[in-house]
């Protein structure tokens, strides 16, 4: 059972306090978008063995959504940050580069 820190309320809590919400940093495509764009937005997901960015909600806590950078293989949590962003914080990206040289995920590396 994972331990995660909610960046909103600062609590480190058991996984049962949270609810996973799938992949982070999706860009929404609405009316007028091409079929390929919409399909990609709605259905295509990363499935890495390694660094992943995902959404969590502190559902049995402050109720806020946040993002986590986590290794799907070792379950190491590199960090969590508020969901109100389109890009992970630079210091977190630097930390991941340090721990997983050569890593990349979608447009981030």
């Amino acid at each position: 059972m994972l331990l995660l820190e909610c960046p909103c309320c600062g609590v480190t809590a058991e996984e049962t306090e949270f609810h996973g919400g799938g992949e982070a940093h999706l860009k929404r495509f609405g009316p007028g978008s091409a079929d390929e764009e919409f399909e990609s937005y709605l259905f295509h997901r990363e499935n890495p063995r390694g660094v992943h960015f995902e959404r969590w909600r502190h559902v049995n806590g402050c109720g806020k959504w946040f993002h986590a950078a986590r290794c799907t293989q070792t379950l190491e949590v590199f960090g969590t940050y508020p969901a109100q962003t389109t890009r992970p914080p630079e210091d977190l990206l630097a930390k991941i580069r340090d721990k997983r040289p050569g890593w990349s995920w979608r447009d981030f590396a």
């Binding site: 994972l2 058991e14 919400g21 079929d35 919409f38 709605l42 959404r55 959504w65 190491e76």
Partner: protein, 998 residues
């Protein structure tokens, strides 16, 4: 025969006797006995019949690894099958029953299987029970069910209670042997919080049995730890599993050892530990020789445990057979107890070291390079036939004896290390898999959080184990941020033992007749020949071979058998053992009770029940309940002698003719507030909400981003910035979360708050032609249609209670939904019932609600929708805005499949004979599909008997349905036959809305 020795027994209290019953017979033992030691003391060598061949089986081990001695313990509501006699402490009045035999333990008919064992090889079931298909249900399954399984399940509800317990600690030490105690002390000396758990009732593990001075060392460590305020110690508590990020489950048995069954029986510890030390020891391996399952053949360590701990002799004459030095300790312990050891068979050509010398000096005959060709005896050992280990089993000599102590070496208990990803390495010198400290399980910070200590690390000699444990304790403390001293760590003394030589089969060239009686897995009756057959048949992966042969399955999960089995597999495949690898170690380490897993969550507190403010009133008035999510809603209110169907009919007729009252408090109520509230709702609903005027209501549909309809309900605009969104009963939490998700993760700059106020308001629907009169009677003014039209809301005082009244209708009647603070709900309900008495008011339940909405052709989320239905399928295009650039689901609904004219569309259905269509029935078209099945052209989504119309009515989704009005189509019936129904408008009643708009 096995018997109690006159002296000794460090764990038993000889001054007292306690009685217990085994298969109905009264037997006695001493406090401190296990069920196993007490049975052995009473010469009850035979403990059960084996699973497949029904061979007689006896005790093999003395601890948690025991595969054979499984009993049903207790009676009635406290009966539990498959309990190991070796871990069941004896108490006054204990009752035990043996398993898997018929008609009796001594005489068992199924034992004929062992004569047929050539015909029951690995994969027997897969090969035999193939066809014909019909045989499965009527022949094979009944046979397999009769013969499968171990103990019988309990027949009564569990009389005991269970609990969960949360614990947090810097360092958790699993295992209270000398290594665990040493590690705990080293960690605790740094000041770290330490929790030490031990699965048995005793501290010290093997040290008091195996080491001179071990008992005193253990006592000193226990005293020291008990005096430390930062140490908690729990005996009878097994570390069951290690999970992600330092989460550990431990299983404490509180009352299994006593006749006083007070308090919880088991406690499941849910532990968060900074570091976990697994000091879980090692388990001795059997040797694979013919007849190694005859009762009286035991692990060498178990034999000396019974002698030293419980003063029980497994036999007067015990032959020891080994491939390592440790088993000599058993010979010496037996000798010291005054028992005879006719021979020690050491499979190693070079024999043993100092302990072997000590055995010889004690006058015991030691034969090097020899092994057992075959054990003699059926229900107990009568002798052994000896052979050269290097040969094929030619008998050199036969030795009469009544017990055999075997040792094939030791395997560290690596389960907890492996549960969360710790890797193993094959230690060639010690012939065992041991944890690889460089590949430990890692936690949330990517750093290791499990350390092994003592024998669990592969440190088999006493001094080496202690040194390893001291380092482990200090390391754990350091990793939790403490300063620990490692100065105490003694240098291990050089060992005077000779190394083990792996023996995977005895003799190494054993003939088939020997191999096919050499058991690897006692619990599942897997023999050396079965694993070899599996390898020949291509089951080369260890995981496949396990499943094909059942090696390592069932309650013991291969604690004795796995390493021997994979070594045989490795030899058969000519592949080195490390490349064959082990099967996966999964928690729990030994079985834990279902009660402990459930904890307190059973019966009434299994899950919380949500009650509306009027719940008690409904209960007092005979409501028949319907579970809706966690809510209970009245389905109907049957009166004296009335069937549920009759009650529903009466409630509908009375409501349509006069007036009815519905508790609508469970409907979701979400307040959406802020300058951007209208803009936000325009995105959430398919229709336009921002144009709604304060004081007005509008019905709306919500879709997922994938286009499918997920919820519906009436939105009321409270003021310029504030909307109240009604959701379905089941949808309140889900839709609230849906709103939060979009607000927080997509439109986080929009100025909107949402709050779920479902439980803040009681809501009562007053429905029917007399609804207005009832409300006016409670003092409300201005209820006329000009002042208060349909789809408007107004605040009024009713019976002195400030109420917000929504004039909306889900029944087609004149209808007001009245919201008051939850605390006033019951008062208003009762006032309405009183006021309505003269108008013939009735409370009605959810079924009447459903039927009335169906009569009006209103959809129900979950009936007309199932996650694949879009609003356009339901003829709800009027509620989809064409002016809006965007709403959730709009892009998805533009996809070709969503605009396909062949999508099934909503229609009404009337059976030609007036009957009620079967729910979910499919409409059958012309011809068959590629699989020869009838073509389907639609399905029923809602179907009821309408008391208003006196006939069956239904709604359904039908191919080209709206264009086929008046056409008759056929639906399949469950159990065969067809029923025909006419396609009609889904609004069956008062199409023009004259009743609701009065």
């Amino acid at each position: 025969m096995s018997t109690r020795l006159a002296t000794g027994g460090r764990l038993i209290d000889r001054t007292r006797s306690i009685e217990f019953r085994f298969n109905g017979q009264r037997l006695s033992g001493h406090p401190g006995d296990t069920l196993a030691s007490a049975l052995l003391a009473g010469d009850r060598l035979l403990s059960g019949r084996s699973f497949k061949y029904h061979r007689p089986r006896g005790l093999v081990a003395s601890g948690a690894e025991e595969p054979n001695a499984l009993f049903g313990i207790g009676e009635g509501a406290r009966f539990e099958p498959n309990q190991r006699a070796t871990t069941q402490e004896l108490f006054d009045g204990l009752t035990a029953k043996s398993q898997n035999h018929w008609p009796s333990l001594e005489f068992d008919i199924g034992a004929v299987n062992t004569k047929l064992s050539r015909f029951f090889p690995a994969g027997f079931y897969y090969k035999t029970f193939m066809g014909p298909r019909a045989f499965w249900k009527h022949v094979y399954e009944p046979i397999i069910r009769q013969s499968a399984g171990l103990g019988q399940p309990p027949k009564e509800g569990d009389a005991d209670r269970y609990e969960h317990f949360y614990a947090y600690t810097d360092v958790l030490v699993v295992g209270g042997g000398i290594a665990g105690l040493t590690a705990a002390k080293a960690a605790a000396d740094s000041g770290a919080e330490v929790l030490l758990v031990e699965q048995t009732a005793h501290w010290g593990g093997r040290a008091p049995v195996d080491e001179d001075g071990g008992e005193a060392d253990v006592a000193a460590l226990v005293d020291a730890l008990e005096a430390m305020p930062n140490v908690r110690m729990r005996a009878r508590t097994m570390g069951a599993g290690v999970y992600d990020h330092g989460y550990v489950l431990a299983y404490e048995r509180l009352t299994d050892h006593t006749d006083a069954k007070e308090g919880p029986r088991h406690r499941l510890w849910r532990i968060r530990a900074g570091q976990v030390i697994t000091a879980t020891g090692a388990i001795e391996r059997p040797l694979s020789f013919a007849g190694n399952d005859v009762p009286g053949v035991m692990l060498a360590s178990a034999v000396r445990d019974y002698v030293v701990n419980w003063a029980v002799s497994p036999g007067d004459r015990t032959v020891v057979v080994t491939n390592n030095d440790d088993a000599y300790r058993t010979a010496l312990a037996l000798h010291k107890a005054g028992l005879s050891v006719p021979m020690i068979l050491d499979a190693r050509a070079g024999g043993g070291g100092a302990l072997a010398q000590a055995a010889r000096e004690a006058g015991i005959r030691v034969e090097n390079g020899k092994g057992i060709a075959k054990v003699q005896g059926g229900k107990r050992v009568t002798g052994v036939a000896i052979c050269a280990q290097a040969g094929e089993g030619a008998v050199l000599e036969t030795i009469p004896c009544d017990a055999v102590a075997m040792s094939g070496g030791w395997s560290p208990v690596v389960h907890l290390w492996s549960h969360c990803g710790g890797k193993l390495t094959w230690d060639e010198a010690q012939a065992m898999f041991r944890p690889d400290p460089d590949r430990a399980p890692t936690g949330h910070d990517g750093k290791p959080f499990v350390i092994t200590a003592g024998a669990a690390s592969g440190a088999m000699q006493a001094q080496a184990a202690r040194a390893d444990a001291a380092v482990a304790g200090a390391m754990a403390a350091e990793r939790t941020g403490r300063e620990a001293s490692r100065a105490d760590a003694a240098q291990p003394a050089s060992s005077d033992e000779h190394p083990i030589e792996p023996v995977w089969m005895m003799p190494q060239g054993a003939r088939y007749d020997l191999r096919s009686k050499a058991f690897l897995d006692y619990q599942n009756d897997v023999k050396v020949s079965d694993v070899q057959l599996a390898a020949r048949e291509g089951f080369e992966s260890v995981e496949h071979a396990k499943r094909y042969t059942t090696l390592g399955m069932a309650t013991d999960q291969g604690k004795l058998s796995n390493i021997n089995g994979l070594a045989v597999l490795s030899q058969s495949l000519s592949t080195p053992i490390p490349q064959v690898g082990t099967t996966t170690f999964r928690p729990p380490y030994t079985p834990i009770s279902m009660g402990a897993i459930a904890g307190e969550a059973r019966g009434e507190i299994f899950q919380p029940l949500r009650r509306t403010p009027m719940h008690r009133w409904h209960e007092d008035h005979g409501a028949h309940w319907e579970p809706v999510g966690h809510w209970r809603r009245p389905y109907c209110y049957p009166q004296d002698g009335e069937s549920h169907g009759d009650a529903v009919g009466r409630e509908i007729n009375q409501t349509r003719a006069r007036v009815g009252l519905l508790d609508a408090s469970t409907l979701g109520k979400i307040v959406v507030k802020g300058p951007d509230a209208g803009k936000f709702l325009d995105m959430l609903y398919t229709n336009m909400m921002s144009t709604l005027k304060p004081g007005k209501c509008r019905y709306g549909l919500m879709c997922s981003e994938n286009g499918f309809l997920i919820d519906d309900g009436v939105v009321a605009r409270w003021d310029e910035d504030t909307f109240l969104c009604h959701t379905t009963t089941g949808g309140a939490e889900r839709i609230h979360a849906h709103m939060e998700e979009w607000l927080q993760t997509e439109w986080w700059d929009w100025k909107v708050y949402v709050a779920n106020v479902t439980e803040q308001y009681a809501q009562i629907a007053v429905v029917g032609p007399k609804a207005r009169e009832v409300i006016e009677k409670l003092g409300a003014e201005g209820m006329d249609s000009q002042t208060f039209p349909f789809m408007a809301w107004e605040d009024r005082d009713l019976a002195g209670i400030r109420a917000r009244i929504y004039r909306i209708s889900f029944s087609g009647e004149l209808s007001y939904e009245i919201a008051v603070p939850a605390s006033q709900g019951l008062a208003l309900w009762e006032a309405l019932m009183d006021a309505g008495a003269e108008f013939g008011i009735t409370p009605y339940g959810t079924e009447a609600l459903h039927v009335m909405r169906a009569e009006k052709g209103f959809i129900m989320i979950g009936d007309e929708t199932d996650g694949t239905v879009i609003p356009q399928d339901l003829g709800l295009n009027w509620a989809i805005s064409k002016k809006k650039d965007d709403y959730l689901g709009k892009r998805a609904q533009a996809r070709s499949h969503m605009t396909d004219p062949k999508r099934w569309k909503l229609v009404g259905l009337e059976t030609t004979d007036g009957s009620v269509l079967p729910d979910g029935a499919y409409a059958v078209g012309q011809g068959v599909n590629a699989n020869g099945q009838a073509i389907t052209i639609g399905r029923v989504t809602s179907t009821y008997h309408s008391p208003t119309l006196g006939r069956g009515i239904a709604m359904g989704l039908v191919l080209n349905g709206p264009d086929r009005m008046g056409e008759v189509i056929e639906f399949g019936k469950i159990g065969g036959g067809r029923v025909s129904a006419k396609i009609v408008d889904p609004v069956f009643f008062d199409k023009d809305g004259e009743k609701q708009n009065v």
